[in-house]
Symmetry: C2
Subunit: 235 residues, 2 copies
């Protein structure tokens, strides 16, 4: 198996960074291949802009998704984006490894999604959800947060964690066709003892070793909906 | 009333940018004061990192929220963050104006939230949800998207829009204490005629003119939950 970890923590000594290392070591030990994009180390640019395209099909008016599609087709995407797309194509499993900021990914990782999940490859036209461009690959969120598990749930202060994660699980990963595995969550990490952190890493190793036994999350299929959802562009 | 618009579209001629201008003009016409942070124009840095703090309380190990709290207290936050905090303090109404990317804000705006909603001012300790630091102020999402309204709903392909927006509405705006108004949504914008776009701008003007008559969204109150949710930090 080929695993691509996109990692987004600013502190290399953090527990979150240790999760990234644990994942890489666990998979390599199992005989798998691993590539890591450490976004802070790479000084990844998260800002989607006209600079992402070599030649613009509309130089005087930027429609970002349209230029993505054209530039992907003509091989004119910015080299930093193209390099990430190659890793995406290569992998069987994509892992986002991050500290939860505002019930979502940090901006540096959001900007990886904005710029790398390009129209024309990952989605576009009828290419979304179970027909998405990354169909056949798996996706996994692995993240840390300050909150405790008992703060989440239907009648709890933050509501359901899976609902908070919906734009990521359903709106991003499932949208591009990934088979989405249940997230691995490092609860309450800034507040627990180092011993409990070691236990958590051990649990993560076991989780990754037994990925095949996990039931993926379930999302809608395009077959359940009709054609009128497919709009034509008007400019 | 004092209105602070945080705007995040890379194309100044876009419909989304026209929404920002429409809001500014509408409020000024009504005799209100307006400030705009145009993040692309400002070349806003969205990446939360150790560079955000003048003096670090822990120079060799970055805990971002902890350094936010210390630096906010000591006035050592990076000047670009401090300037946005002043606008936040000044305003009665905060508007995020953006094109929806991946059922969320673009990374440049996510990074505004990550860096400007600082611990120690906007949240921290028992300062969250209805006790959040921005209590008494209002918040509003105003955004455009390619999707159509009929793609959203309980049994529709993308599910409920409000659920997709939960990390923003509840997890960010309500979390820092804002009274959250119902979002204004520019549906299907890349695909509609210029005439329909003008109608949409007119609807937005009417929406903003009658903001006082809108019922805010409803979120949990801290009073409904007990003290054990308040953790002590362990390092």
């Amino acid at each position: 198996m080929k695993i691509f970890i996109v990692h987004a923590h600013p502190e290399p000594q953090s527990f979150c960074s240790a999760m990234k290392d644990t994942a890489a070591e666990t998979f390599q030990h199992l005989g798998h291949e691993v590539q890591v994009s450490d976004l802070h180390q790479m000084k990844w640019n998260p800002v989607a802009s006209g600079n992402d395209f070599g030649v613009r099909s509309q130089p005087d008016y930027l429609v970002y998704a349209l230029e993505q599609r054209e530039s992907y087709k003509s091989g004119q995407l910015s080299p930093d984006i193209q390099a990430e797309i190659e890793k995406l194509k290569w992998c069987d499993l994509l892992i986002f490894n991050f500290p939860m900021y505002w019930f979502s990914v940090p901006a540096i990782l959001k900007g990886w999604i904005d710029r790398v999940f390009v129209s024309g490859f990952c989605y576009g036209g009828k290419r979304f959800y179970d027909q998405g461009g990354l169909k056949g690959k798996k996706g996994l969120l692995a993240f840390t947060l300050g909150g405790r598990e008992h703060m989440f749930g239907e009648d709890k202060i933050h509501g359901e964690m899976q609902t908070m994660l919906r734009p990521l699980l359903r709106g991003s990963m499932a949208y591009v066709g990934l088979t989405v595995l249940p997230p691995f969550i490092g609860w309450h990490v800034p507040y627990i003892s180092n011993e409990d952190r070691q236990t958590l890493l051990k649990e993560y190793r076991e989780y990754l070793t037994n990925l095949d036994q996990l039931d993926p999350l379930s999302f809608p299929s395009l077959d359940d909906f009709d054609e009128k959802m497919m709009p034509k562009i008007q400019r």
